[in-house]
């Protein structure tokens, strides 16, 4: 419990003034614009949108600027803003199979229709600091690439190949309205749709660690990246006043499907199973992590053993994945707890007095 304390207004105002100055930094250095953050720190912007659970690049860039680059603080700002918006409705489920892919790779099939498209990736870089970037030069203008034949060909899902042989589980199609953690409290049991929503807005670091734990043997399920794709899909929503659906824009997404070994259970034949990750923006570390954790959480419906691993524990995962919930509860302990602490202090003093007098008393009793 914390109690209301008055008297800090002037100190708080001065602290905030100083914060504004510190945010600006050395005034002789040019100020960052929101557009610069949006364009040049795009992956930070992506992360704030994914975990803030609101796609709006300008808003996320502004939040990053306001938060001095503290991404969890920026996500907090986005979440708070989100609650002020009226909800107009929901889109139709996006068709990621029809994605205009910037990147599409498979670690399970080398020669797949549409090919292995690397896109703008950090993979295969040497992770050496590039001092040329410090020179603030602009990169040489690239000539427009020659359009190879069939550049815009569709990229069928890798999973469809395995599906033809019936060697992989197929997700049950459906049109149920999914539960929504932004509209109702998170209550267990959580079906897969609810779990996926929580995972998609979860803290990337938390998901990464959990996913890593499954690779190291805590609920091992031996994943392959069946397919990873990054690109844009159109968003379509039903407009009630028109009575038909319209496209309202496009959105960048990262999708990861894992293929996992599965030796079969009482109810299922030996086959490959799947984990699924879908995240706003270019966020492939998160999408892969999400797919691994999604797969680990599916142990019950697949009839696997509960190994007691953290990544299998739905309650543990879902209740600790949200960094805004976590930071809110964690950081509240720095607020005044004077009365709480006063009572603890009294208690410890009392216990001390008692333990100091006890040996004397015990000696008396023995005598």
């Amino acid at each position: 419990m914390y109690v209301a304390v008055k008297g800090g207004e002037r100190a708080i105002d001065n602290a905030h003034d100083w914060l504004a100055e510190e945010r600006r930094g050395d005034p002789s250095v040019a100020e960052l614009s929101v557009a610069q953050i949006r364009e040049q720190l795009a992956l930070a912007v992506n992360r704030v949108m994914a975990e803030g659970s609101l796609q709006d690049a300008d808003l996320a860039a502004l939040a990053i600027k306001q938060a001095r680059g503290d991404l969890i603080e920026a996500i907090f700002l986005i979440r708070a803003y989100r609650t002020t918006l009226p909800r107009f409705g929901a889109t139709e489920a996006v068709d990621t199979g029809a994605m205009a892919c910037d990147r599409r790779i498979s670690a399970t099939f080398k020669d797949l229709p549409g090919g292995q498209v690397l896109g703008p990736t950090f993979d295969y870089t040497h992770r050496l600091i590039d001092f040329a970037l410090a020179a603030e030069g602009t990169p040489p203008e690239q000539p427009g690439p020659e359009a190879p034949e069939g550049a815009e060909q569709p990229m069928p899902r890798v999973m469809e190949f395995l599906n033809r042989e019936g060697l992989i589980e197929t997700p049950e199609p459906g049109e149920e309205t999914p539960r929504d953690v932004t509209r109702e409290p998170l209550e267990l049991p959580a079906d897969r749709a609810l779990r996926l929503q929580v995972l998609s807005r979860a803290d990337e670091g938390f998901l990464l660690s959990l996913a890593y734990s499954t690779q190291r043997g805590y609920a091992r399920n031996h994943p392959f990246v069946g397919e990873l794709r990054i690109g844009t899909v159109p968003l379509e929503m039903e407009v009630p006043e028109l009575g038909f659906s319209v496209e309202i824009g496009e959105i960048a997404l990262t999708e990861c499907e894992t293929v996992n070994q599965f030796t079969g259970s009482k109810s299922e034949p030996p086959q490959f199973t799947r984990g699924y990750g879908l995240v706003f923006g270019q966020s492939e570390r998160k999408a892969i992590s999400m797919a691994l954790v999604d797969r680990a959480l599916r142990w019950e419906e697949l009839g696997e053993d509960d190994q007691g691993a953290p990544a299998q524990d739905t309650e543990f995962v879902l209740y600790h994945a949200d960094n805004i919930q976590a930071t809110g509860f964690l950081e509240h302990i720095k607020l005044p707890h004077y009365v709480d602490f006063q009572s603890e202090l009294e208690l410890v003093r009392k216990l001390r007095r008692e333990s100091a007098t006890r040996p004397a008393r015990e000696a008396e009793e023995c005598a």
């Binding site: 300008d58 107009f88 690439p145 932004t182 998609s200 159109p234 496209e247």
Partner: protein
């Protein structure tokens, strides 16, 4: 007279094109075509959110992925035609321009706007899409097999 279905289909396509245009583009093309007529707001531009849905495994049960900001508005021209706009982002001026084009496409300015706004947007979108796809295609891996060194 077009059938209602064809009309709906055409409107659906044009609203999508208008929504996907880059910021400020619809307004610039519209103003180059004609002077904006007077209108009344049926719904002044307002910003809200829309929940984006995905599907488990790409094709399974829908789930809520996260929200996007959306701007919407509706207006009526003095001559009576009603225009709507729903577009991603916080873009009130764009929503106004898109709703105006939507309404004007039901008037005798339709042909001018079709060529001066909608076809231009379609061409620009096609070019952008193709150049992005071409860029991606340059990063496509060409595998080749090394000759194995055994006789």
């Amino acid at each position: 007279m077009e059938e209602p279905n064809a009309e709906t289909a055409a409107r659906k396509v044009r609203m999508g094109r208008l929504a996907k245009a880059p910021e400020g583009r619809v307004a610039a093309l519209l103003d180059a075509c004609l002077d904006r007529p007077g209108f009344d707001w049926l719904r002044a531009p307002e910003i809200g959110s829309v929940m984006v849905r995905g599907r488990a495994g790409g094709t399974g049960q829908p789930f809520n992925l996260g929200e996007v900001t959306v701007t919407r508005c509706a207006l009526r021209l003095a001559s009576g035609e009603v225009g709507h706009a729903y577009l991603k982002g916080r873009r009130k001026a764009d929503a106004e321009a898109a709703a105006l084009v939507d309404a004007l496409m039901q008037t005798d300015a339709a042909a001018r706007l079709q060529s001066g706004v909608l076809e231009v947007l379609e061409d620009e979108a096609r070019t952008a899409r193709a150049s992005r796809a071409a860029r991606a295609a340059t990063t496509k891996v060409d595998f080749f097999t090394m000759v194995r060194g055994e006789d």
